[in-house]
Amino acid sequence: MSNMMYVTPEQLMKDRAEFAQKGIARGRSLIVAMYDAGVLLVAENPSASLYKLSEIYDRIGFAAVGKYNEFDRLREAGIRWADSTGFTYSREDVDARALANYYAQYLGHTFTEGQKPLEVEVLVAQLGNNVRPTKIYRIAYEGTITDEPQFAVLGGDAEAIKNRFTVTVPESASLQDVLRGAVSAIAGPERSIPTSDLEVAILEDRGKRRTFVRLSDADVEALLA
């Protein structure tokens, strides 16, 4: 006779969710917010080479928190998906919503069917143009996808940071204001984060096809000064 204990589906899901949440809470948080000319992605990241933010396509950026090996694999899959979709059809047919849905399906599937859920939260941001709107899609560890209206916070302290993020309408604020608001929200009242521990990127139209730009420490310092 099997000596497997019966576990209710409710309990199983709860355990899995707790496991994923714990893993995600271990890392530092990040904020992605719209500003008057684009989308800002800012993460607290002590590593200068293991990035949490990445370029996916001409107008699509990626951000993630949690286990690096797990979200980096998703990042790579996103780049492959975007490049092959653009190659097969056209560059303008690459849509962030489709990618966010694939991520949601994969995370949802792994959450229920996998050995263990992925300990990641993923975000896909799209800079709008005359064909598509500016969008921020956040995908949770269990596959829940949310269309965030102006900004999103990812990571363990998400709720607290969200309450501290005081830029009420980031969409119409300048890059400088939104960056300042984001950095102080991530840091909280008792802490200040050195520039070298910040990873900052933007999606902004600068007359080039590719809109994703990493900001250097000097750029960030100048904006925060």
Binding site: Y51, S54, G78, I79, W81, D83, S84, T85, F87, Y106
Partner: protein, 264 residues
């Protein structure tokens, strides 16, 4: 198509071509007949400040198929790629090169070196040319940001990749363009001198090779003129190409079609 996820042991890495092969995105199949428009002349010349590339605009099958085809494109900010041979395969080749370099950069967060880009294309040339009659010969030139120098890489039909320190020529009009470059090339030319010489080489090819288009004053179409320097790839405006080719044409008219012993 779903999310392209791979196990660590099956992962194609940052190479777009490896991924495309694994997923069946690109197909190479053999045909007995050469079915597409082709023929070209493109030259790349090294000057003291970088590389110039000039190429004609005509695609030829049994008749002239296109008069304004672009055979030189920016592969990325610092690299130019030109193609000769099958137009269909050549255009695909340019797309694959552009995509592969950008794909690698996004996947690894660092750009390929110029030599890395040149070597990456070699097996693609080999595969295409050994297994199909739709031959493509590319020409790669760029600004090497790690050594601050312009460099030219040419390929043979079997995919051999060779660096050239002076100039390189591809396409059916090569003999005439090459002859002009051999007589006119000097080490340490300025960009303007290199552009002038490269334009003259294309003019000679267009004059003598039926499959290479010269300047088309009727339709205001001129060979493409490109510079690649430390500032990157720049396509010169039509007005620049027009005045360059009008000057050559004027001299040639004055001499009644005779090149005349000196380079002119």
């Amino acid at each position: 198509m779903g999310l392209p996820l791979f196990d660590a042991t099956q992962d194609p890495g940052p190479s777009f071509v490896s991924y495309a092969r694994q997923s069946g995105l690109t197909l190479t199949s053999a045909s007995e007949h050469d079915v597409s428009a082709h023929a070209t002349t493109v030259v790349a010349v090294r000057s003291s400040d970088g590389i110039v590339m000039v190429g004609d605009r005509q695609a030829t099958s049994y008749f002239i198929a296109m008069r304004d085809i672009r055979k030189i494109e920016a592969a990325d900010h610092y690299t130019g790629i030109a193609i000769s041979g099958s137009a269909a395969r050549g255009m695909e080749f340019i797309r694959i090169a552009q995509l592969s370099f950008e794909h690698y950069e996004k996947m690894t967060d660092s750009a390929l070196s110029l030599e890395g880009k040149a070597n990456y294309l070699a097996p693609l040339v080999q595969e295409n040319n050994l297994y199909t009659p739709l031959t493509v010969i590319p020409l790669l030139a760029g600004w090497d940001t790690s050594h601050d120098v312009g460099r030219i890489f040419e390929y043979d039909g079997a995919g051999g990749c060779y660096e050239r320190s002076d100039f390189a020529v591809i396409g059916s009009g090569s003999p005439f363009a090459e002859g002009t470059l051999r007589l006119g090339f000097r080490v340490g030319m300025s960009m303007e001198e290199a552009l002038e010489l490269a334009a003259l080489a294309i003019y000679e090819a267009g004059d003598n090779d039926p499959s290479t288009g010269g300047p088309d004053f009727v339709r205001n179409l001129y060979p493409m003129m490109v510079t690649i320097t430390q500032d990157g790839f720049t396509e010169l405006p039509t007005s620049y190409a027009e005045s360059t080719f009008r000057a050559i044409n004027e001299r040639r008219t004055q001499s009644q079609g005779v090149a005349g012993g000196t380079l002119r």
